[in-house]
């Protein structure tokens, strides 16, 4: 976990350097911790099979509800 966070701190430092944006060490440390949580969350969801047939989605954005 901590080595992941360390790697992500390096990722943030590199990206910030390319963009020319200055962050404090604390901001980078906190940002890496948040980034780790989000990436883990996206990984987890990506591995979860979807249980809902997406047919209802076809009508979701219609102005009127589908006929019941």
């Amino acid at each position: 976990m901590s080595s992941d966070a360390d790697q992500l701190q390096a990722v943030i430092r590199d990206a910030a350097g390319r963009l020319g944006i200055v962050f404090s060490p604390t901001e980078i440390e906190n940002g890496a911790a948040q980034l780790l949580l989000i990436l883990n969350s996206l990984d987890e969801l990506g591995e979860t099979p979807m249980e809902v047939e997406p047919t209802a989605f076809l009508h979701f954005f219609d102005a009127e509800p589908p006929p019941s």
């Binding site: 989000i38 987890e44 954005f61």
Partner: protein, 462 residues
């Protein structure tokens, strides 16, 4: 007379202005007096537009005296979140970076309000760049909750909600990217409506997230929210996300025909016991009003916070990249500190977040084949004390900003219309909100049910 005027909602005020039993001049004077008396404590209005407001009130009075037709919001005092551009009036975005910025044009919503004869009385406090849920702000100072000035009003549209709750205005416009209208409306005990994505033009409003930003409406009553929505909704060629559909007709739905789903993932979140009790009472009342109340589940809602945070972070970086390079040290610490996450995310992560968002929408749309409205509390806690970073809920320590918006992000990710209405008070008298969400385009169902079960705001907090 002042007390009588401030006790009306917008719908009642318009009726009296049109009937010429209340002068728009007297109405605006009453609200400016309230602002002068209460705002030094609350810090809800950051720029008072008294001279412009009185000019408009006098013009409206002249037209009424001349027998001319006036607009549907005639004489209604409005505050605008200070990220909404107002021609010739300072618009700070709640940031030192824009401390002296004066727009050369009005936002689309300002144009529509003025055509409707609403009267802008001030610009409202915001979390810096609308990027946070507390309304803590190093540049403007904190905005305070009218029910307890030691507590936050919520955010980011904290000034809009606090203004309406305290009787400084009848309408507050705000923006809602992850709950920024509904959270403060709930914590301040007023109505907060986030319409369907694309319902109201965002032209002339400083963006937070292109994908998730919505204009929202804060009012005293549900009927006022419907009235304001009807004046703001519609296509605007300057905001290509706006809908061509005008398919909104409030109160068309019969609450007795509606099926209401209680969202299990929301009510299983750690929650203040007063909020839980109020929600249970709300559902008990609702079950006597609607056709059916049943439990529903959206399992991927567990990922809503991560998905919403990732999308908002990268959308915001696109907006702020140059400003961070040029004027980064002028940002407040908490907002500046949000951007390291953004620069660490990649295009691949953004696509994955959007794919995840689609899964959440698919599951939500499936639920809406079984119910017409999804219900939950709006916020798991009543307003916390200013400066509180963490809170213990059901034995778990949680970050206050994360808790504030945990129940509101689904509405932004799906684009579905969502409203909060006051429902109950905590044991120490703080407001609690009930959140209702319908399918995109179905504001009518929301408004009809909210009108039926939501508590009307009947008194000023002080």
């Amino acid at each position: 007379m002042t007390h009588e005027i401030v006790g009306l909602d917008a719908t009642a005020l318009v009726e009296r202005v049109k009937a010429r039993t209340v002068s728009p001049i007297a109405a605006i004077e009453a609200y400016l007096e309230r602002i002068a008396a209460r705002n030094p404590t609350l810090n809800a209005v950051v720029t008072v537009t008294a001279a412009q407001a009185m000019d408009r009130a006098r013009d409206l009075e002249r037209r009424l005296a001349g027998g001319q037709n006036v607009g549907p919001l005639a004489g209604v005092p409005v505050v605008l979140k200070d990220i909404i551009y107002t021609k010739g009036i300072r618009t700070t975005m709640g940031s030192r970076v824009f401390s002296d910025f004066v727009p050369s044009h009005d936002a689309a919503v300002v144009e529509r309000l003025q055509r409707a004869d609403a009267i802008v009385v001030g610009k409202a406090h915001t979390h810096e760049f609308a990027y946070g849920p507390t309304s803590a702000n190093a540049f403007l100072g904190p905005c305070r909750n009218p029910w307890d000035i030691d507590r936050i009003p919520g955010g980011s549209s904290g000034g809009s909600a606090a203004s309406v709750a305290a009787g400084l205005s009848l309408v507050g416009l705000g923006t809602d990217t992850g709950g920024s209208v509904r959270v403060p409306a709930a914590l301040c005990g007023v109505v907060g409506l986030k319409p369907t994505y694309g319902r109201i033009s965002r032209f002339g409003i400083f963006p937070c997230s292109w994908a998730l930003d919505h204009v929202g409406i804060v009012t005293k009553s549900v009927r006022d929210a419907a009235l304001v929505l009807s004046t703001l909704a519609g296509r605007d060629s300057r905001d290509l996300t706006t809908s061509r559909s005008s398919g909104y007709a409030h109160y068309r739905a019969d609450p007795g025909q509606l099926r209401v789903g209680v969202l299990l993932e929301h009510i299983s979140e750690p929650m203040d016991e007063d909020v839980r009790s109020a929600f249970q009472a709300a559902m008990a009342e609702t079950s006597g009003v609607v056709a059916q109340v049943l439990d529903v589940s959206i399992p991927t809602n567990a990922y809503a916070r991560s998905v919403s945070t990732a999308i908002t972070a990268l959308d915001s970086l696109l907006v702020h990249e140059q400003l961070l390079r040029d004027r980064g040290p002028e940002y407040g610490q908490d907002v500046h500190g949000r951007f390291p996450l953004a620069v660490g995310l990649t295009a691949r992560d953004y696509v994955r977040a959007q794919q995840a968002r689609t899964r959440i929408i698919v599951e939500t749309s499936d639920v809406f084949t079984r119910v017409d409205v999804i219900a939950s509390p709006t916020v798991p806690i009543p307003a916390p004390l200013i400066g509180t970073d963490e809170i213990v809920l059901n034995g778990q320590t949680r970050s206050v900003p994360a808790v504030l918006s945990i129940l509101s992000r689904l509405g932004n990710l799906t684009g579905a219309p969502t409203i909060t209405v006051p429902y109950g008070r905590s044991s120490i008298g703080l407001p609690i909100g009930l959140q209702l969400m319908a399918r995109p385009g179905q504001e009518s169902a929301l408004l009809a049910l909210a009108e039926k079960v939501g508590a009307s705001w009947t008194q000023l907090p002080h």
